[in-house]
């Protein structure tokens, strides 16, 4: 499997995710945002960070850069796209995923480990979570409060397009385990074709039992398998 990590000015999780991809034998290339064409890739990763200093709106300027046209073409061909944190915000701004990400309800940057329930395991990103669907990953964001019209939220639920929800230790989904005010505790969503995943938590930071744990590595193992 071949992947491309797009690097924007202000990306800061690009190398972490490259290490994670390499660890799971995914042949990765870093691609500067000013390129016009993607190298041959099965997977495109939009990494976390603060692309363009979050000017105007998070992910907004990055969503208008030159490489994005080819990323959108890759999506339309059915290619896989993974957007983590700022990458999720960029996917929202390109219109590849519905809804929007508002500032956290309590206006604070949140950096901590949270419990998540994997609510859809029938996709290329999460298939290996069938064995373990309550996991712990870190979040680190200021704008992660997922918001969309009731109609969109309902269609996300109906089409099983919600991949991750914030939950308690035992998988209880309720408002008290919602760190940022997201509608329906949403932490990550898929498009209706399930080839695009946008998520606020950082799986690439949890790929080594010595450092942090292995809950994130399950996502990369699923990708390798696909």
């Amino acid at each position: 499997m071949k992947s491309s990590v797009i690097v924007f000015p202000g990306s800061n999780c690009d190398r972490d995710v490259a290490v994670a991809l390499k660890k799971y034998q995914i042949n990765n290339q870093m691609v500067w945002h000013n390129e016009v064409k993607l190298p041959k890739s099965d997977l495109v990763v939009l990494p976390g960070g603060f692309s363009y200093g979050d000017y105007l709106r998070t992910g907004c300027i990055a969503s208008k850069t030159r490489i994005i046209d080819d990323v959108i073409a890759h999506a339309k061909r059915g290619g896989l796209i993974l957007g983590i944190c700022n990458g999720f915000q960029i996917l929202i701004e390109t219109g590849l995923l519905p809804g929007t990400l508002l500032r956290n309800k309590k206006l604070k940057f949140i950096s901590k480990n949270v419990h998540l329930k994997v609510t859809n395991t029938n996709n290329n990103f999460c298939s290996n979570y069938k064995k373990k669907n309550i996991i712990q990953l870190p979040i680190a964001h200021n704008e992660g409060n997922y918001f969309a019209s009731n109609k969109i939220i309902k269609s996300l639920e109906d089409t099983e397009s919600i991949a991750f929800k914030y939950c308690g230790e035992k998988g209880e989904i309720s408002e008290i385990f919602n760190p940022n005010g997201s509608s329906n505790n949403i932490a990550g969503i898929l498009n209706s074709e399930k080839n695009i995943l946008g998520m606020m938590p950082h799986p690439e930071r949890v790929i080594d039992p010595l450092l942090s744990g292995t809950d994130g590595s399950i996502l990369f193992e699923s990708l390798f398998k696909s």
Binding site: G99, T100, L102, R103, K105, F147, A148
Partner: protein, 79 residues
């Protein structure tokens, strides 16, 4: 021609920054402030003298870049 655009959150979208500013003003003693909504203000200079054309360009850039139409409204003022 000079144009200004104001982008604000839609009425039914929670504006936590506005809320905090409102609360701070109350703490400062301004008891009669009812509500505050925070927004963004853009000054745009366009190399074009036709008013209608300017309006069209301004509308387009507001919808494509300056605002997120899911949660924000915009108003355009031509001087």
């Amino acid at each position: 021609m000079k144009i200004s655009a104001i982008v604000t959150l839609k009425k039914d979208v929670l504006d936590p920054q506005g809320k905090v500013v409102n609360q701070t003003l109350k703490n400062m003693g301004y008891k009669n402030i009812l509500n505050i909504r925070q927004g963004k203000y853009f000054e745009i200079e366009i190399h074009e003298s036709d008013k209608e054309k300017c309006k069209k360009i301004a509308k387009e850039i507001c919808e494509k870049l300056l605002s997120n139409v899911i949660i924000e409204d915009y108003t355009i003022n031509i001087k």
